[in-house]
């Protein structure tokens, strides 16, 4: 019903726009790229992506767009592609470039902007994206949702919804190996817990204090961090919020035997350990560790290094040697590509909450050569963080605040066969003005190979069940 209505509204809108739309005449050429939003100029996109609808940041009366065989002529400043035409275009040009020309009628004059390109690659991005929608000030929430979006079209459904869950806080839906049949998310508050999805069967786990986590390749183990999270405030308005851990440790939970495995190396009282993740071969746990400092006073001295410790999946034992891989600035969120070749992480000047750090950038380490790429083409002047790989290791998604410094949006970046990253693009929306009107951050985006086999009703039901307790 909802989809039918949306299509109906779109048709009405298109009919209104198409009727009597002026066409370009006496066109004036411009050397500037069109001021389009989201910025889709010269980006690399997968052939399975939804239409890159956009708007022109100009007071224009009409707009004409030519992209490959598609020609759109519409009133106003918003360009919306027909999804069937778009899909046909994508399959036709996969592996090649499309030239896009934008001509706009501004103050009675048609202006043709400098054309730009879309590089369409055959490497597909995983079709589903889950994320949490929450106000950027994470201290107090209301109406939180975890949504699942098909990036091949505009279908969205909630897998955790405030209406079903007594308006509780929820966070981090994470897959094992981008597999929708094995994933976990948290529902907070009294009676809350970790909701494990195994082949669509949900269970509620009582894993003590678990916050950030990652599955082992076989799915038998998760490594997770526990932390005492403290929100703090900067007096300088531009810096806003800071969040730090008053204590944090890392553990491994055996999901089969339901017990917790610990190591003194991962729960050192003189260190903060956080953001654990397994390597794709399951032989290491990568994480971030910092020496404790006086907080909040010495927050700027809080520097997390990127480290790893061996793990034996066959016996469930943690190794005894911690290797430091990178210790310049403060590292967060290490994530290894599924092919084991690249390690993507965030670096900030200090601390463990890069979301409000404008200087927070992504870096990528080649695990075969140790070379570090600063990803200049990927990063922006605002926070770029919380990333997740596509199962083919050719794409990653990350949350960027580049547009307004406040609201995180999912951006997709292509990594070609030579390991070179391309200019990222923002998750397309049906209505180009969606992001302008939206007042929620897309938090913790995660890519999945398919649609998860449960919905918000299932989560609400499992919340009423008893816990599976961990020893």
């Amino acid at each position: 019903m909802k989809e039918t209505l949306k299509t109906l509204y779109t048709l009405v809108l298109l009919t209104i726009m198409v009727s009597c739309t002026p066409t370009p005449e006496n066109v004036q050429q411009s050397n500037a790229l069109p001021p389009i939003y989201p910025d889709y100029c010269d980006v690399t996109i997968p052939e399975n992506i939804a239409p890159l609808n956009f708007l022109l940041r100009a007071d224009c009366e009409a707009i004409e767009v030519k992209a490959g065989d598609i020609k759109i002529n519409t009133k106003g400043n918003q360009v919306t592609f027909d999804i069937d035409d778009w899909k046909a275009l994508m399959s036709q040009v996969a592996g090649n470039m499309i030239n896009v020309t934008v001509t706009a009628l501004i103050d009675g004059q048609w202006i043709e902007y400098k054309p730009f390109t879309w590089q369409v690659v055959k490497d597909k991005v995983d079709p589903y994206l889950t994320y949490r929608l929450i106000e950027p000030d994470y201290e107090i929430w209301n109406h939180v949702q975890i949504q699942q979006r098909c990036v091949e079209n505009f279908d969205v459904n909630a897998i955790g919804h405030y209406e079903q869950l007594e308006n509780r806080c929820m966070n981090c839906h994470t897959y094992a190996n981008q597999d929708p049949k094995l994933s976990m998310m948290y529902v907070r508050g009294p009676g809350g817990g970790a909701i494990l999805n195994r082949d669509g069967k949900l269970s509620k786990l009582n894993i003590p204090g678990s916050v950030y986590f990652g599955f082992s390749p076989t799915g038998r183990y998760i490594t997770y961090s526990t932390q005492k999270i403290v929100p703090a405030f900067h007096s300088l308005a531009s810096k806003r919020l800071e969040v730090y851990d008053a204590a944090s440790n890392i553990y491994v939970a055996d999901m089969q035997e339901h017990h917790v495995i610990s190591s003194s190396l991962l729960s050192d009282s003189l260190k903060f350990e956080t953001f654990p993740t397994f390597s794709p071969d399951g032989k290491y746990i990568y994480y971030c560790a910092a020496d404790t400092v006086d907080l909040p006073g010495d927050i700027k001295q809080l520097q997390y290094a990127l480290v790893r410790i061996p793990f034996d999946e066959s016996t469930g034992t943690i190794g005894s040697q911690v290797d430091t891989l990178y210790n310049k600035r403060s590292v967060c969120h290490p994530r290894i590509s599924p092919n084991g070749k690249y390690l993507l992480y965030t670096v900030a000047d200090y601390g463990t909450f890069p979301i409000w750090h404008p200087e927070a950038d992504l870096q990528m380490m080649n695990l075969e050569t140790g070379a570090i790429d600063n990803l200049d083409i990927v990063n922006s002047q605002r926070s770029d963080t919380y990333h997740s790989w596509s199962s083919n290791s050719r794409w990653f998604v990350f949350a960027s605040k580049r547009d307004d410094g406040l609201y995180g949006k999912p951006y997709f970046c292509y990594v070609d066969k030579d390991g070179k990253t391309h200019k990222p693009f923002c998750l397309p929306q049906l209505y180009p003005s969606f992001y302008d009107n939206n007042l929620k951050s897309f938090n913790a985006p995660e890519l999945g190979k398919g649609k998860v086999p449960f919905d918000m009703e299932d989560v609400a039901k499992v919340m009423k069940q008893d816990y599976v307790n961990f020893k």
Partner: protein, 463 residues
């Protein structure tokens, strides 16, 4: 419809219009301020994601015009009259007993009107009732029960989808105290500080909300210390802390306090939190404030985010345009007050925040008066003296308000200070003279209004 029924309905409408317009107008303004309606396709389409989309869309669309005088009451009475008339015609067509036909429409109109006594009762619910009444009227136009039944069955689902189910409220009396709170809040919002002061001073009962805006208005005229003891117990708002259980109105008030003090970090935080708890998690007043905050803090990208949203409103698009062009000029003074040095704190303790603001800018009189008055309300003379020394003596800018002079007398007397200290702090001979008189008649009612009397006789607020 007979002439006599029309007359009775007209009378009813006039009576309720007069009530809503002249006894309850600020409730409309409050509702308008706590929502936002955007003229944008993606926003409008979001209304239809749940049932009742047309009712909510129409309700929110019309509510934005509550900003204008007379419009709120007019829209509401028009909707109620429509409900009453349609119901009357429908019942008449159904040939129901005359008494019911005459009484039921008035009962219905009055019930819905009474629901609107509550601030949380939205116009969309009334539109929803209107939608269902419209269906009833359509059905009543059909001849024969088969046709009527068919139309009803066919229409139920679409009408439910468009109009949903109306919210029903427990019947309550009009909250005229809350109306006064809203009136004062509204006058403050428009910068009518004299009007706020006049309204509060003319009251014989004061709520925290009234006192809060009274003090805020006085502070911005530099007269907070002159009026602090006019009302006891008083309420400054500086002892509030925002948490998950803090009422939305308090968070909204804190936003006004932080803005007046010049703490942009906390203004923005309170604005975002107010949004979180507003209808559809957004409201137009905070949208304006967020744009203002970011202009003051120099974050033009963030300011533009909110200005673009306001561009799509009917009422505030001109404001957004003006702020975009002249914001730096308009907020120049505020920009000079903001923190320049970065420190980090885990608490929203207002005393600490005000100290930071005064360290950055000792000329911030609003912050200075609030910090000094807050400690004085608590009878915390030691900290008052410390802050007075730090921001009035060490800066060479003594603030010689009688309230402060009186409090300093207490500290000097309590510490057996030497003559030179009395000379250093007490610059007003009249205060010194009265203090000597007070000491001879300690607690006497003729010293009501002095800090000495407050210190000895009035209970300090508990925090």
């Amino acid at each position: 419809m007979s002439v006599s029924i029309c007359r009775v309905m007209a009378l009813w409408a006039v009576a309720f219009f007069l009530f809503f317009q002249f006894w309850y107008p600020y409730h409309f303004f409050f509702q308008e301020q706590n929502q936002i309606f955007l003229c944008s396709w993606d926003y409008i389409s979001s209304y239809f994601e749940r049932s009742g989309g047309l009712a909510r869309l129409t309700g929110d669309f019309l509510t934005q015009f509550y900003y204008y005088l007379y419009v709120g009451a007019t829209i509401l009475i028009f909707c109620l009259l429509l409900i009453g008339s349609l119901l009357y015609k429908a019942l008449e067509n159904f040939k129901i007993s005359k008494a019911i036909v005459l009484i039921l429409p008035f009962v219905m109109m009055t019930f819905v009107a009474v629901c609107h006594f509550s601030t949380s009762y939205r116009l969309s619910s009334t539109i929803s009732i209107l939608g269902w009444t419209l269906l009833l009227w359509f059905i009543s136009l059909m001849r024969g029960w088969k046709l009527r039944l068919t139309l009803m069955v066919v229409s139920l689902l679409p009408v439910y989808h468009l109009f949903g189910l109306p919210q029903l409220k427990k019947i309550q009396m009009p909250d005229l105290i809350l109306e006064k709170d809203f009136a004062i809040d509204c006058e403050y919002y428009f910068g009518n500080y004299d009007q706020v002061i006049k309204m509060v001073e003319n009251e014989d009962r004061w709520t925290d909300q009234m006192l809060f805006f009274y003090n805020l208005s006085q502070a911005q005229r530099g007269e907070l210390p002159d009026n602090l003891l006019k009302f006891t117990p008083n309420y400054l708002g500086t002892f509030e802390k925002i948490g998950p259980d803090t009422p939305m109105l308090t968070i909204r008030n804190m936003n006004e306090l932080y803005w007046a003090l010049g703490d942009i970090t906390f203004t923005e935080r309170a604005a975002m939190m107010t949004n979180v708890f507003s209808h559809n998690n957004r409201n137009v007043r905070m949208m304006r404030r967020l744009a203002e905050c970011n202009i003051v803090s120099g974050d033009s990208l963030a300011a533009e985010k909110y200005l673009r949203i306001l561009d799509k409103t009917f009422v505030y698009s001109k404001w957004a345009k003006n702020i975009r062009q002249n914001g730096h000029k308009i907020y120049q003074k505020k920009m000079q007050m903001v923190n320049q040095r970065d420190t980090i704190t885990i608490s929203d303790n207002a005393h600490f925040l005000m100290m930071q603001l005064l360290d950055a800018n000792p000329d911030n009189i609003v912050a200075l008066d609030y910090i000094l008055c807050s400690t004085l309300l608590l009878k915390d003379i030691t900290n008052f003296k410390r802050d007075y020394d730090r921001y009035c003596i060490e800066t060479g800018k003594p603030r010689l308000k009688p309230l402060y002079q009186e409090a300093l007398c207490i500290w000097l007397a309590g510490t057996n200070a030497p003559q030179e200290d009395w000379e250093k702090y007490i610059r007003r001979a009249d205060v010194f003279q009265r203090f000597q008189q007070y000491n001879q008649q300690r607690g006497s009612a003729q010293f009501k209004g002095t800090y000495w009397y407050y210190f000895d006789k009035i209970k300090a607020p508990e925090i």
